[in-house]
Symmetry: C2
Subunit: 296 residues, 2 copies
């Protein structure tokens, strides 16, 4: 099977898990479950649950203990997009080629759908306690990583500085902070949770965190490059949005060529560290490399 | 000590716990920690953490295992207020006599501060796993209750229907649904978590849930009554806001007199069920009764 075929098969499995863990659409509050499904099932690369599952497999994890956390991380990623798109934030009407959640359901429901997805992420992760109660300590640790990496010392922290500095010229230091937190933290959390739930050693968990940090940075720089070099049709979202929002990006600070080199260097380092673990995972390596060459 | 003195002493202890669990105000993202503290430390009755602690004590809970959950439930309550006050929601500029979070920090930071408080609630609750790792199963269950009662089948579900039906004439059925979920669910979660962490029996947990459901309903009806009968100075927030927002309330459906009677009946029932548990807790009984007579 080619990488592309394997990747698409894995995406299908993830979509099934997401559908399984989405709330039933019923009751007086049905509209919110529709808005949650609308935003969560809008496609996307499913990179975070995929990395989580690959990390779980890498360390010999078995069974479905990882499933609720895979759904949870994608719900957290999705809620952050729903709130990012709001009029008071980036004010985007389209994402992944479809109208954004608040455009379809109204601004009030956009706010509540984001809240609902964030809350439901933790509700979903808690299912793991029922699946394998004897692993409660391990699940508790995974829960803590999930919360920490999504919060003010993780993703939200990055968003805050991103929003605060929008329209200002910022230093490389601040940009690095934003990227590490806004994009890197959830990717770190994905592979760390996979490793923790599979019973990896402290050292292994720490190596996975380092790999993910580099992958996250490479991924975000590639995003900046695509915002300049791609088209709206290809990307499924408006290009040149950084320019429109007067954002300092990796590309505006370092230029396209150096940005491309850094993506390649970070990716090579991540793959090297992965090799150093001495465990077989061709697909995970290919997935990381693919990030450099992706076109959307 | 009078009830009032005892209550105020308990509020002080809760404020100390909240301060202890608030994030340090530092780093590039400092503004979000300031906004979190601004909204969380704005006063308020601290009813939810107080009920949680009383329930924990009622079932012989010892030590500080309950503390992170007390902070967590108040963070969840607070985030819901911060998002409720946003321009796209209730559009309120004042709460508890102070400017609302988005008025002080901007609408974007208002959204992010709410997100941050919700996420930090779970991050904070996870501290319990470190405090008493041997109780991980119990803590996992408390975490699940926290998430479920705050989510689409709890508080958020109630908010969704409340927002959706605003300006419409609604049935008693729908109003009951909104009150049980929007207000009742977090109060249920408070006493249930206290009971679970203290090691109460399934039956005891279930009785506490029933008591809290009645207390929550009485509390919300009293809120409707005060919106009509109180003043902005007394309440620390605008009165007649329900009228302004064309909201159907318990008072518009049943009238003030029947509303008052129902508050008293529900309170008497709750106190009766509490007595039925055969455990001493004079303060908890007084607290429940006080809800009927409170003026703000």
């Amino acid at each position: 099977m080619s990488f592309k075929e394997e990747y698409e098969k894995k995406v299908e499995l993830i979509e099934e898990i997401l559908k399984k863990y989405l709330p039933v659409q019923e009751g007086y509050q049905k509209i919110i479950t529709e808005a949650m499904a609308y935003s969560l099932m809008a496609g996307g690369k499913r990179l975070r649950p995929m990395l989580m599952k690959e990390s779980f497999d890498l360390f010999g994890g078995e069974g479905d203990l990882i499933d609720p956390f895979m759904a949870a991380i994608e719900m957290i990623h999705t809620y952050s997009l729903v709130h990012d798109d709001l009029p008071a934030m980036d004010n985007d009407d389209y994402r992944r080629g479809r109208k954004t959640t608040h455009v379809v359901y109204g601004e009030d429901m956009g706010i509540l759908a984001g809240d609902a997805l964030l809350n439901y992420a933790f509700e979903t992760a808690c299912v793991a306690f029922d699946l394998e109660p004897e692993k409660s300590t391990r699940i508790g640790r995974a829960m803590k990583i999930l919360a920490e990496k999504a919060g003010i010392h993780g993703m939200i922290g990055g968003q805050v500085v991103d929003v605060k500095e929008s329209g200002h010229r910022i230093s490389e230091d601040v940009l690095d902070f934003i990227y590490r937190l806004k994009t890197g933290a959830l990717i770190e959390s994905s592979v760390m949770i996979g490793a923790v739930l599979a019973g990896a050693s402290e050292e292994e968990i720490s190596v996975m965190e380092s790999i993910a940090g580099k992958v996250g940075m490479a991924f975000q720089i590639q995003d900046d490059i695509l915002d300049i070099t791609s088209t709206t049709e290809m990307l499924g979202k408006p290009v040149h949005s950084d320019e429109k929002n007067e954002k300092t990006t990796y590309v505006t600070l370092k230029g396209i060529e150096e940005s491309r080199k850094d993506v390649e260097r970070l990716t090579a380092e991540a793959v090297g560290e992965l090799d150093g673990l001495g465990r077989e995972n061709e697909f995970l390596k290919d997935l990381i490399k693919w990030l450099v060459y992706r076109e959307k």
